[in-house]
Amino acid sequence: MQPILEPLMKIAVLVAGLMTAAAYLVLVERWIAAWVQDRLGPNRVGIPLTKMRMFGLGQPIADGVKLLFKEQLTPSHVDRALFLAAPILIFVAAIAAFAVIPFGSAIPPEAFPTSWGITKPVSLEIAPNVDVGMIYVFAIGSIAVYGVVLGGWASNSKYSFLGGMRSSAQLISYELPLGLGILGVVAVAGSLRLDIIIEHQAQTGVWNLFTQPLGFVVFCVAGFAEAARLPFDLPEAEQELVGGYHTEYSGIKMMMYMVAEFLHMIAAAFLIVILFLGGWHLWGLTGSGDATGWIEVLLRVIVLLAKVMVVILFFMFARWSWPRFRFDQLMDIGWKVMIPWGLVNFVVVAAWVEFGDQASRLLRLPGEWSMAVVGWPALLISWLVITVLDPTAKRSDNRSTVQRP
């Protein structure tokens, strides 16, 4: 039974958890938006038909019911098949990415009663032992672009079209720095599997953030851009594009777009935590290697989810902290800053993988720490070089150079 029942149970728990998380993150997002703007935010909706308010914790349910029962407006000028397919595509792609993301370390078989007949450790990952882990996430993430592009195209409206165009350019540009950001992590861990990447950080006790700060910056910025969060939310850009690619959507289709957006953010937060912030590892609390019992398993899950929550909160704070980039600035940052930084990071990491042992002996530093000695200067120097060279500066005004007949 284990091979069939186990994944099905994990899928059920994961989908239910993710949907609830996405719904409640909408509430958290609104709270943070309100508090940052000196407002109180939603704090009224509690249990229906009673006077209980519970700080507005009923709000996501009310929002969901509202969106479900709202009129489904399909404009007459849309391409119906694609119009319907786009939100389904983006939603499925967003949720499928979680198949290889570990939510903790494996539960050892000894933790279960012997009568259950469990002989193999139960991995807290829907598809455990997928060797292409990271590549799978990337492939699925690239499919999500189609949801945005198709939605913008099928809507047959200028705002949606502009949003779709912008996002296709943005998401394709930022795939490169995203890939370069993880290249260093993969080179050090020696595997694309996310659980092995965490295990590597847990065993050495050194999170990749400390050794590859440049890679962290590149991956974070690219992650923000891939999740289309401010300051890189140009595909939506409410003020300019009236919502961008989902201008023409309403009701449950709109909700699928919104949930997919939050799932992207959760996935990006998970990846940042797993790749750079040590995953479930916390010094002196979670240990390393396989978990020995329920307590350790639970501790690791809690530590991982807490870290993810912190990253998500940062995502939400970032939304109100910095203004949106202009589109040419966005492209400049992607191509002229992030890609060179990613390459520099990879060169530094590759050099360390080759010569790290000698460097450690020379500097009398334990293992991974010798990499921080090169990692941080690499960050500072790269940042300084970009600041001085300023490749994103506009050398002329914005006048069009196209000659008109």
């Binding site: 943070i32 309100a34 508090w35 940052v36 703007q37 000196d38 407002r39 109180l40 704070f317 109100w320 902290s321 910095w322 940042w383 300084l384 600041t387 001085v388 300023d390 500066a393 506009k394 002329s396 005004d397 914005n398 006048r399 069009s400 008109r404």
Partner: protein, 181 residues
Amino acid sequence: MKPDDQKITWVKEPRLGLLGRSYLLLFLQGLTTTLRHFFRRKKTVQSPEVRHEIPDPLIYRGVHRLNRDGQGRVKCVACFLCATACPAHCIDIVAAESPWPDREKYPQTFTIDELRCIFCGMCEEACPVDAIELTSLYDLSGKSREEMIFDKAKLLSVYDQTKDAEPMRTKRAEGGGGKAE
């Protein structure tokens, strides 16, 4: 206007200094601003449980009321000055001969269309006997347009409702009937 029109002034983007270009300072600035506001006291008033505090009710321009004199009669003398002054033409008065000896006319009906009113306070300014006043009630609502047309009884009831919190604004409030002499 074509892009090569001579009248267009093309502006070059100002170049940032080294600190600005590094983005680090701006990064911290944005984060500290949001964090500061995050912990700041909130401005939201939990209406309707908590009411907005009106700094000075005497100069606030909310719902109208028709004042009563010492004997409980309507103070209005149906002179039409408020209706004439009203820029929104929302006051409608039907005058009749007064049943009381201290004045010639009184308003048989007095209606204000609160939906047309712009709450400018000109009626209050124009009134020679201080019969019409604007109260500090700001949340008026109704289920239909008809409900929002306030008649004499309704306007007098607004007075009864607010007279304790907001006394009449002039000395002429006392005594029998304003211009009695």
